[in-house]
């Protein structure tokens, strides 16, 4: 095999003091190959990605190790030497192009700046046009004169890719480049990246938390946990026959819309940088853990061709049996709990009135789970807010138990307010930082059910148990809890009112995949035990497939399709739904773009 384009040897990055964020990271990459680095938050994947450019964000420091790109060393260089290597040898595509592009520099000049920095400023005009065309952006003068804020999200990201490619580096590092984009644009950008890679055989390092996306674009995958690579190998092998318990746990947590399954989360929480134990960092959450695991950190060992695992029990690791998703039985002929009729909602802005949703009619039966699916701007969140009383509808009716609801929550009766509760998307601001968990959960019980102080305290304990949080959580403040824990507290707070309908507005979108699986599992359990109805808002088809019975697909405020989840996703009737289904990445049927051309 020819000389690898990228060789990383024992990379070590630390924070202030003795804390080590990333350790013992080594891998190789050949020309034209794509490596996906997968990990949840805190795994260190972004730190590794940035270290490939010799960069450590504020507060971190690259302690030791080597990164060689096309034979030249990147680490341990002076500022000037680093500068000449960045862009020329290795370049970076950022996560959020909106903030990564200078708002006062025009499109064309952005490209010229990079060319100039690497003294490639002969025939600049030609080069600028060439690279813009390469990423399928317009290359005419009027487009080049635009400012970044005049481009769409997808166009901005293409520009970022163009900047990364313009000096023809042999290695490009992409840091979650499609996270902020809608599913269809994401799919297009991914196709773009694959195509560019094939055409120029540039090596890619693609960092992401989304296994489904990574599996569609990478030849090899490295799974990171607690600052180390715990498994590395060909994509197909990792996805179908992983050998590390964490990888296995991760794969069965990923929701899939092609083959909906019962999601199994990973119990426990990832340890913070300061609390990493001496032995295997995953031991506390691992089913296969034996005393030897906790004694010393396992080494990365070869277990197959190009396949490495950091686990002493790898032979016993297997992918858990994945059951196809169970359908929840709903009592036949049950009364519709929630009934929405011809709902219309608008937003009044300075520039006029925008219709967010129109002609929305649907019903949610007792004990059922209905999902509203759509991209941003589809109106799904606005509809949820109308149902809950946060946004007055401009037309139509909302009925609960046959009774019409007043537009705003404070105009509704206590009984009505109790019946419908909501959990929001962002766990980091849905709890008042100045109030204890106990305070937050007991308040709805007191104000909406009239419980006294002592009864409310018991109620809090019951609720915490329901959401599988330890009783001691009651005394803590939100700032001390993780994202997943906060979301459970938010659910407990909603449950404290004993609602019949729980509106979940993208409740797992901000959570790591393994935590998401656990929360979705919790919601399914609550649904069974409490006969709770769920109205589930999401943009993620996989999540919807795992949790909902019926789905409504929304496009620009209108329902474009509705029906049972299985049939809508497997044979969509409307063109828009078909586009969504096709564009959404899936771990069980990864786009085989790269397979076809791999040598």
């Amino acid at each position: 095999m020819s000389e690898p384009v990228l060789t990383v040897t024992e990379l070590r990055v630390g924070a202030g003091g003795r804390a080590v964020v990333v350790e013992d990271v080594s891998f190789e990459l050949a020309a034209g190959e794509a490596l996906g680095i997968v990990g949840e938050s805190g795994s260190g994947k972004t730190t590794v990605a940035q270290a490939l450019l010799g960069y450590a964000r504020t507060g971190l420091r690259i302690i030791s190790g080597s990164v060689r790109v096309a034979g030249e060393e990147i680490l341990d260089r002076s500022e000037r030497e680093l500068r000449s290597r960045r862009g020329r040898l290795v370049s970076y595509v950022p996560q959020d192009p909106g903030t990564a592009l200078n708002p006062s520099i025009r499109v064309g000049n952005h490209v010229r700046e990079v060319l100039k920095a690497h003294s490639l400023d002969r025939q600049t005009d030609g080069r600028v046009r060439a690279v813009l065309e390469r990423v399928e952006l317009p290359s005419d003068a009027s487009f080049q004169r635009r400012f970044p804020h005049q481009l769409s999200g997808g166009q901005q990201q293409r520009l970022a890719i163009a900047l990364a490619l313009v000096c023809d580096p042999p290695l490009v590092v992409l840091d979650e480049p499609t996270t902020g984009l809608d599913v269809v644009t994401q799919s297009r950008i991914l196709d773009e990246i694959s195509r560019l890679q094939r055409e120029s055989s540039v090596a890619l390092v693609y960092v992401s938390h989304d296994l489904a996306v990574v599996s569609s674009i990478a030849d090899r995958v490295a799974v990171m946990y607690a600052g180390r690579i715990v498994e590395e190998g060909p994509t197909k092998t990792i996805v179908t026959a992983p050998r590390h318990p964490y990888s296995a746990g991760l794969i069965v947590s990923v929701p899939d819309h092609v083959e909906p399954r019962q999601l199994i989360g990973i119990p426990g929480v990832a340890v913070g940088v300061a609390d990493r134990p001496a032995g295997c960092a995953f031991a506390a959450r691992c089913d296969l853990c034996i005393p030897a695991c906790e004694d010393a950190m396992p080494k990365l060992a070869r277990v197959g061709e190009h396949h490495f695992v950091r686990c002493i029990r790898w032979q016993s690791t297997q992918l858990p049996e994945v059951e196809p998703r169970r359908d929840e039985a709903t009592a036949p002929g049950s009364e519709a709990l929630l009934s929405v009729e011809a709902l219309q909602a608008v937003h009044h802005t300075r520039h006029g009135t925008v219709v967010a949703a129109e002609g929305i009619s649907f019903a949610v039966d007792a004990g059922a789970c209905v999902a509203l699916v759509g991209e941003s701007g589809s109106g799904k969140t606005t509809i949820a807010r109308c149902i809950v009383g946060l946004h007055p509808p401009s037309d139509g009716r909302i009925l609960v138990d046959g009774r019409r609801l007043a537009p705003l929550a404070r105009q509704r009766s206590r009984e009505e307010r109790r019946t419908v509760q909501i959990v929001f998307q962002n766990p980091y601001d849905s709890l008042n930082p100045r109030r204890t968990v106990e305070d937050a959960i007991s308040w709805p019980a007191r104000s909406l059910r009239g419980l006294g102080a002592r009864e409310a305290r018991t109620e809090v304990a019951t609720m915490l148990e329901r959401v599988r949080l330890p009783a001691g959580t009651a005394r803590r403040y939100p700032g001390e809890l993780s994202g997943g824990e906060r979301q459970r507290v938010a659910i407990a707070r909603a449950l404290a009112a004993r609602p019949k309908l729980l509106v979940c507005d993208e409740v797992t979108s901000a959570l790591d995949v393994s935590i998401q699986a656990a929360v979705l599992d919790l919601l399914a359990e609550l649904r069974r035990d409490l006969r709770l109805s769920l109205l589930f808002i999401s943009h993620d088809l996989g999540v919807v497939a795992s949790v909902a019975d019926r789905v409504l697909v929304l496009e620009l405020g209108l329902i474009c399709e509705e029906g049972a989840v299985r049939s809508v996703l497997s044979s969509p009737q409307s063109a828009y739904t078909a586009r969504l289904v096709e564009a959404a990445p899936s771990i069980s049927a990864p786009q085989l773009l790269h397979d076809a051309t791999r040598v």
């Binding site: 946060l390 929001f424 100045r434 109030r435 707070r493």
Partner: protein, 288 residues
């Protein structure tokens, strides 16, 4: 690029990097407050007694010499602190009592009320503060209470603005929306959810604002438009004794020094508190 932003705010800057500075500030402030409030009881001469020859240099009996009337500078310095500090505090308090609710209401209601209130505030902001005080002084005469009210009026628009912005920011947080979805009454939401989260911005704003009040009171007294002789007041003393600066500089420099120590120490402490508070907000909000 959010990873880069996360890194930067996670950066563990020490809470009080200038902690030695804050400690100095606290000591100095304690000293000044001591002089201002306990000083009068230790003054060797009653501040309005005229025992000596005007502008005599410091001597054994008069440690800082005599002022333009022959009074003992040292005694007057010991007695001259209360006025600026107390009137400054009064003006600041009044400003918060009026400006606070205005800002809170405008920020939470966000209806036409908000627009009207803010336009009204804009009018007051279109004025240099000193100018406003001078205009009021013309109408009201040399009346310190009218001027204290005027100083409060000067603060009110900016307090309203700041608290309005803070309220608006808090109002869109999930926990406030959750309260609205529960149907909690407005006053309950303000009390339970919004107010507890406002102390940060209020405290961060309060320190520098107190300094400004003191500066304005001092300015007004200096111009002779506030307190009148024979009251001992540091700022007034500076203007009274200006003429004799070449003869007994201490009559002017001593009160000037006291004012300087007061305002600088308050500012140092206030700034450290504000940056300490700011940091904790940052880190919490950005854990991904």
């Amino acid at each position: 690029m959010s990873a880069i932003s996360v890194g930067r705010t996670l950066e563990r800057r020490l809470a009080f990097t200038r902690s030695w500075l804050v400690r100095i500030g606290l000591v100095v402030l304690a000293f000044v407050l001591g002089v201002a409030f306990i000083g009068p009881y230790f003054a060797p001469y009653s501040p309005s007694v005229i025992p000596g020859i005007p502008f005599s240099p410091p001597s054994g009996t008069y440690w800082l010499g005599n002022d333009y009337l022959g009074e003992d500078v040292f005694s007057r310095v010991l007695s001259g602190g209360r006025t600026v500090i107390l009137y400054g505090a009064l003006a600041t308090l009044l400003a918060y009592l009026v400006g606070g609710p205005i800002g809170l209401l405008a920020g939470y209601a966000r209806s036409r009320v908000d627009g009207v209130l803010m336009r009204a505030m804009d009018v007051l902001l279109a004025f240099p503060p000193i100018l406003f005080l001078l205009v009021v002084a013309t109408g009201a005469g040399a009346n310190i209470y009218a001027l204290v009210i005027a100083i409060a009026i000067i603060h009110i628009p900016s307090i309203a603005r700041i608290l309005r912005a803070a309220t608006m920011e808090i109002s869109v947080r999930g926990y406030v929306e959750a309260a609205a979805a529960r149907g909690d009454r407005t006053h309950v939401i303000l009390r339970r959810e919004i107010l507890p989260n406002m102390w940060g911005p209020i405290v961060a704003d309060g320190g520098p604002r107190f300094t400004v009040s003191i500066l304005l009171v001092a300015a007004v007294n200096f111009l002779g438009l506030g307190v009148a002789p024979p009251t001992a007041d540091w700022a007034l003393m500076i203007s009274e004794n200006r003429a004799g600066i070449t003869i007994n500089a201490w009559s002017v420099v001593a009160p000037a020094l006291m004012i300087a120590l007061l305002t600088v120490s308050i500012n140092l402490i206030a700034d450290a508190i504000a940056s300490g508070l700011g940091k904790s907000v940052d880190v919490e909000a950005l854990r991904r």
